[in-house]
Symmetry: C2
Subunit: 406 residues, 2 copies
């Protein structure tokens, strides 16, 4: 098999960890596989470099930030290749440029536009284990770029797709994808398998195992991913496309996100195009709006429009919302930042009715009030008071019997 193995910051966080990674890689190769390794910077290194930048400049340019940040993966790439070679396996370290990762020029959060994997393929053909720097690429004009937080996941999946690998293994410090956060639900169960769509919802709902963009990329290229731990030999979780033969699980997991603030623009006159005006102003400021709820008043003349944003963007969103409220003739803007979003995810929801009602009922039974609801085909999210987060996660995990294998 042709396997891409991606190792995150904690997996290459020390000399000992790098040696352990090298042993796993070499053992995979000796079982008859070809392996491309993608590594992140040592854990803490990126934050250290950002700290240095902040100490020389209050507003460092994104282009120079990328020259700086891309140094971290060079170090781990070279050290990992050396460690693999010292076990008797030919190995070559490639930078993002050498790996042919071409991006747009949105420095510090660049998007991959094209991959030219000739050098990778040639090296594999010549019997090398290829070790790539994740998180980085290069623009058409030759400038170094980075892909944003968690970008090494994306590098790994994109490379796997480009070289038509059989599977992309993402090594991290947890055993895989769980039915819920094990810190909150002690009997949370590791999932053997989840669909791309479920993984995507979980990732965007706050489960931290895989970066959202990397899952989107995997869907587009139908690249199976295995999430597993680099600290043991447990089999991990397979993330793959929905299998028609497989029984559809109604609820696969419970996710939560405490990083939510809710803004309500009150008594907006109910005219067509009002919501569009409000949200285009906020989108223009590059703020991600999540849940949106609109309640029309009983007489139909006005509406309250509520929406959630990440807490970090709360003040900026408030400015735009207040300006928009003024322009639209609304009464004002109310804000709450003591909220959490709790969600259940499962492909079986498509065909099972009544899941939402069960969720609301389970929460109500334990006195958890729901402030807003948002649904998609395979997930239901409720906005609740943040203090009920852990309780709600446990209630839903138990109600849907997620501790039992389906």
């Amino acid at each position: 098999m042709l396997i891409v193995q991606k190792y995150g910051g904690t997996s290459v966080g020390s000399i000992e960890r790098i040696k352990a990674v090298a042993e796993r890689v070499v053992s995979t190769i000796r079982q008859g596989n070809q392996v491309v390794v993608v590594v992140s910077a040592m854990s803490g290194e990126t934050d250290k470099l950002i700290g240095l930048a902040k100490s020389v400049s209050s507003n460092p340019s994104d282009r120079e930030m990328d020259v700086l940040l891309s140094s971290g993966e060079r170090v781990t790439t070279a050290l990992t290749a050396m460690a693999i070679a010292s076990l008797g396996q030919r190995s070559i370290a490639l930078t993002g440029r050498q790996a042919g990762i071409m991006t747009d020029n949105l420095h510090t959060k660049a998007k991959i536009e094209k991959i030219s994997p000739e050098k990778i393929k040639k090296s594999l053909f010549e019997g090398y284990c290829v070790v790539l720097a994740g998180f980085q690429g290069i623009t058409e004009s030759g400038d170094v770029t980075t892909l944003g937080r968690g970008g090494s996941d994306l590098s790994a999946v994109a490379i796997a797709a480009a070289i038509k690998a059989d599977v992309c293994e993402i090594y991290t410090d947890v055993d895989g994808v769980y039915t819920a956060d094990p810190n909150i639900v002690p009997n949370a169960r590791k999932l053997d398998r989840v669909t791309f769509e479920e993984m995507l919802e979980m990732a965007s709902l706050g489960a931290k195992v895989l970066q959202t963009r990397s899952v989107e990329f995997a869907i587009k290229h139908n690249m199976p991913i295995i999430v597993r731990s680099s600290f043991n030999n447990n089999p991990g979780t397979l993330v793959t496309k929905e299998d028609k033969d497989m029984e559809r699980v109604v609820v696969s997991g419970v996710a939560y996100d405490k990083n939510q603030a809710k803004l309500t623009v009150m008594k907006v006159p109910d005219k067509p195009g009002i919501a569009a005006k409000l949200f285009s102003a906020i989108a223009g400021a590059n703020i991600n709006v999540d849940v949106i709820v609109q309640n029309v008043s009983s007489d139909g003349s006005s509406a309250d429009i509520s929406f959630t944003v990440p807490k970090a963007d709360c003040n900026k969103a408030l400015q735009f919302a207040e300006q928009a409220a003024k322009d639209l003739g609304a009464k004002g803007v109310a804000i709450r930042d003591d909220l959490a979003k709790i969600s259940i995810v499962g492909v079986g929801m498509r065909t099972h009715s009544g899941v939402a009602a069960e969720m609301f009922d389970a929460l109500a039974k334990h006195g958890v009030n729901i402030l807003a609801i948002s649904t998609s085909e395979i997930k239901i999210s409720c906005l609740i008071e943040a203090k009920y987060t852990e309780l709600a996660v446990r209630v839903l995990h138990e109600h849907f019997k997620l501790d039992l294998a389906n």
Copy 2:
């Protein structure tokens, strides 16, 4: 003026030093100059990276070593560019590749083959201060290379020549080139000016201010160099070609090198081609031979051949010499590693006779025995017992009145 300023490891060794460098650069630009900055890695960083490599592999590959080592200059390049920008001066960080530094593929000690400075020139034209990563380049096939210890000096001089700069300023932690090591001779005088040839002899004789290859490059391209301190505003030493109008100094400086071992191949039968055989074997092992002395025996039938090598190469050289001695029918090899080489340098020697005799006499008067002598047009070197090094430096400094400006 178009000025290249190179800052060494101690000059960019901390956030405070980087900020001081930025202020000097911006002040130079505000005086109406265009500036290209070349930086080394933070002092200690390269050794730290080598330590990491040694801890994952007993024999790390040179190619991967270069991927690793080249990360150090990326950090200082980006930080310096950011610090300059924060003072209101547009600034851009370029890697060795972006600066167009093409080298051969002798990893960890690559030679510059070509510089394509289009990107540098374009950035200067657009009003940027260009900050370049020293010490690194790229091969034709796109692999990262480094230029060996002190390689940033070479990067700076080569870039200066390629963009036809008016001068190349080398910033370090000393005030310039001295008549002798100030640690040994308290009244050593900073030279306002030395010729390229004198600088070359001094560099290769152990004065540590400028890397030998960078001086050779400066000679070839007639690029004036100013060696000065980044810790003060003293004017430094101008290294330039000999000026016909300038009075020729007989002796400019005294240099010493304690890192010498002497090997003597005894009673080599005196046949043509014998010396060539001996030294081609040693050169093949990449060992630099310095002083060579051959004494033919009184009956002319055999000769003792002595030569010096760096102490680090002593054991390796001994192996080759013993093999050669056997092959040539010599009696054996004797070795001494308690020696130092002491040298006087000055362009005036070309026209002044008797300088060598004065040197030998001054040393003899203080009981310093001379074991071998080697001369060039502008320098005289003597091999002496290492314990006399400091005495000999002081004696020669005083004898030639180097504390007085000529």
